[in-house]
């Protein structure tokens, strides 16, 4: 075997080595992406004690509320829609709870998901809701809070951790009060 042949073979095996390396890197990269996507999709609902994602709510009144500036206060985040048939069961109770706790530093935020502004405003007026409400622009809050449907309510403690959550409508005003009291005591 000549030196030239040996050099050619070495060069070929070197190129093949790089090719194999790149192919494996691609395969591992794609698998990692798929795994990440699957994990994200199947993370399930938020857990109590988990840090609640911060968000900025652009209210229907034109204000902006940044939840990161509300640290130290209890925040109730209710995600709803005007077309949601079960949201109406808790609408008036939420307003009553707001009237009870508005002077105790509890912030109520309504997040309107996949709705039209006209219908949302009609809904708010119909149920006499006066706390801050705004649309979930781009569906970001829905995604960050891993929501699967409306209504869902999240109560965030003064430490910014999730104190309690309600999937579906609250059955009564007492349920809302109990959840807020737990957050206030924490």
């Amino acid at each position: 075997m000549t030196d030239q042949t040996m050099q050619n073979q070495e060069a070929q095996s070197g190129a093949r080595g790089w090719g194999v390396f790149i192919a494996w890197a691609l395969i591992i990269g794609i698998l990692a992406l798929l795994a990440f996507g699957l994990l994200e999709a199947n993370r399930g609902p938020m857990r109590i004690g988990e840090p609640a994602p911060d968000f900025v709510l652009h209210t229907f009144d034109g204000d902006q509320i940044d939840t990161s500036t509300l640290r130290g206060q209890v925040i109730l985040v209710n995600v709803w829609a005007s077309w949601c048939t079960t949201c109406v069961y808790e609408a008036e109770d939420l307003e009553k709870a707001y009237q009870m706790y508005r002077d105790q530093g509890v912030v109520f935020l309504g997040v309107d998901w996949s709705d039209t502004e006209t219908k949302a405003l009609e809904y708010l007026q119909h149920y006499g809701i006066t706390y801050l409400n705004g649309p979930d622009l781009g569906g970001r809050i829905y995604k960050d809070y891993r929501i699967k449907g409306v209504p869902e309510t999240f109560i965030i403690g003064p430490d910014g951790l999730l104190s309690s959550m309600q999937i579906g409508a609250y059955a009564s005003l007492d349920e809302i009060v109990r959840s807020i009291e737990v957050a206030l005591d924490s």
């Binding site: 691609l26 794609i30 077309w83 996949s114 039209t116 006209t118 781009g138 569906g139």
Partner: protein, 161 residues
Amino acid sequence: MRKRIQAGVSVFFILMMLHATLTVRAQEEQPTDDEVNAIAKKLYCPVCENTPLDVCGTQACIDWRTEIRLKLSAGWSEDQIIQYFVDQHGAQVLPEPPAEGFNLLVYILPLVIFLAGILVLVQALRTWRKPVEEESTTAQEVGDPYMSRMEEELRKRQEDV
């Protein structure tokens, strides 16, 4: 007196004609269902997955179609309306993700995988062919006297035949 009655009747008819003209114009400006559905079919229901807005019967979709109608009446273009829904509800309302940012992977990865597949196939074909070539060259280059004589004899016999 008669003149006043005539003037009153004339004013009444003029007002009636004006009203009729305005009504017809208002009806003409209303977008048709087809116009609404042409945009609605390019958007997807937020509640039922994989259902285009034009065929979805949920209240959310009915409200969205009403919103499209209102925007069309206000003179918005199709692109403006679609962009409005994307801004309000996110890119998931579109039938396919926009080719930007992380979403670019959706469009690039299949091509990369296809090219990688071709590369692997070419490499595999080369590997399958190589041992045959190597065996024949090795036999000649080994220089075994017994094998050389054997090959020489075989060649001669083939020539004789």
